[in-house]
């Protein structure tokens, strides 16, 4: 039933208010949590539909009812800013002449297969959503992003940054933004935004280590080392092992990521520091991985990720990680000592406050 006075056009009558769902979600009511994630997703879809200008929604919505095949589609923007034009390589196609197209195709395959084979998640939405990757976007575009439906990669300026698609941890990072969107829908602002960034960094490095068969001790724990330009070899965008030490150069200045709550960034920029304060949980993940192995740590984090809610802060995150770990201890997937390890790791970075 519609409520009295409902405009019908922007009907909200059937949607439980988000704050109620969030309270329920905190009490671990699984159904409410799923409903919350779904309603956010639906609302976004509805907004998109109302303004649908390029048929993008029809394309992505087509598979929502049935299982998709998580097929890769790599598009070549050819220096322009239009998405999904010039399909350069789709699932099953032979190699392209363009190494960047192939890198996007291959690395997204590694990420997809890791989620499927190791974590038993069927693509971004767990329903086999296709993976859309746009490469050669813009003119010297020094960025990569997830726009809510697909991934976009620039070529970099060729001095400070090389091509953003040419990196497994960058593609793992972007694709994980999609997974987060379809699970907790962590808000991209403040502490929940920093957790969103953290999870993307976690799976970016965990997948890279898995692919390269590295242990936590062998790995460099850097994000974006492969996309630094020729003048900045050895630098990176973030270090999970030693946040605040990844770069120092003319364009970016000096890395200001904190590795402890006492240096928490309280400024406004970057949505209140989503790429800055992620250093705090990043360091905790590194510490846990050094004790129990990156594979076990990633498994715990992946389980925690599915019990998170959109506005979770650092303190709530630790509790959820510990609960996820406890379940895995009970099922025999993780050793009992993991709980203490996690508590100590977060304590070392000042969480909970």
């Amino acid at each position: 039933m519609h409520k009295k006075g409902c405009s019908k056009l922007k009907c909200q009558c059937f949607i439980v208010p988000n704050y109620i769902l969030e309270n329920l979600a905190q009490n671990e009511v699984e159904e409410a949590r799923i409903s919350l994630a779904k309603s956010r997703q639906m609302r976004r879809r509805r907004i998109l539909k109302e303004y649908d200008i390029d048929g993008v929604v029809a394309l992505t919505d087509a598979g929502s009812e049935r299982q998709g095949e998580s097929a890769r589609h790599v598009y070549d923007c050819k220096g322009g800013t239009k998405l999904r034009e010039n399909e350069a390589r789709k699932e099953g196609d032979r190699s392209s002449a363009d190494p960047i197209v192939n890198a996007a195709y291959d690395y997204s395959g590694v990420v997809r297969d890791y989620f499927k084979d190791v974590l038993h998640r069927n693509s971004i939405d767990n329903q086999g959503l296709d993976l859309i990757l746009n490469v050669h976007y813009g003119n010297k575009f020094t960025n990569a992003y997830w726009d809510g439906d697909e991934m976009v990669f620039g070529d970099g300026d060729g001095v400070i940054f090389s091509n953003f698609a040419n990196s497994l941890d960058v593609i793992g990072h972007e694709l994980t933004h999609g997974v987060t969107q379809f699970t907790s829908g962590l808000e991209y602002e403040g502490q929940s935004g920093a957790l969103n960034e953290h999870l993307s960094d976690v799976f970016g490095v965990a997948i890279k280590q898995f692919h390269l068969k590295q242990t936590a001790g062998d790995a460099d724990w850097l994000i974006g080392a492969d996309i630094m330009g020729p003048t900045l070899k050895g630098q990176a965008l973030r270090s999970m092992k030693a946040p605040g030490t990844a770069f120092d150069n003319k364009l970016m200045g000096k890395d200001i990521q904190p590795d402890h709550m006492k240096n928490f960034y309280k400024g406004e920029r970057d949505n209140h520091g989503v790429h800055i304060n992620s250093g705090i949980p990043n360091k905790a993940f590194y510490l846990v991985s050094m004790e129990i192995g990156t594979d076990k740590a990633a498994l715990i984090w992946f389980n925690a990720m599915q019990n998170l809610f959109a506005t979770a802060n650092f303190n709530q995150f630790v509790q959820i990680v510990i609960k996820a770990a406890q379940k895995l201890v009970d099922s025999g997937d993780v050793t009992k000592t993991a709980i203490k390890t996690i508590e100590n790791a977060f304590k070392a970075v000042g969480v909970p406050e």
């Binding site: 303004y51 020094t142 970016m252 970057d270």
Partner: protein, 103 residues
């Protein structure tokens, strides 16, 4: 005309900004900028944005334009910027990088 531009955030969390008087630009650059501004049609662009979510890892752009008569401000992200504005943002971002590296 005075232009103030900033490009903040993104995957690499950049902090780029500059302010220029457009008549200080070399003639070629000035003309290119004029063309991009015309193409961007910022008046309409401001109204047609917010089609998409802000995006994850997308840059936030702020553009202030002032002449003798008026001052206008625009903000976009990589995902909310309309198609026509994107080449202008590309141009201004690259100019910002150029200026920062020359400092």
């Amino acid at each position: 005309m005075h232009i103030k531009f900033s490009c903040i955030g993104g995957f690499a969390n950049l902090d780029l900004n500059f302010g220029i008087d457009t008549d200080e630009l070399p003639k070629e650059k000035y003309e290119e900028l004029q063309n991009l501004m015309k193409h961007a049609d910022l008046h309409n662009a401001a109204q047609s944005k917010m089609v998409k979510t802000q995006g994850f890892d997308s840059f936030s752009y702020q553009l202030d334009i002032a002449d003798e008569k008026k001052k206008q401000s625009f903000s976009f992200t990589d995902t909310t910027a309309p198609e026509e504005v994107r080449p202008l943002l590309d141009y201004l971002r690259n100019l910002a990088i150029e200026i920062k590296l020359a400092e």
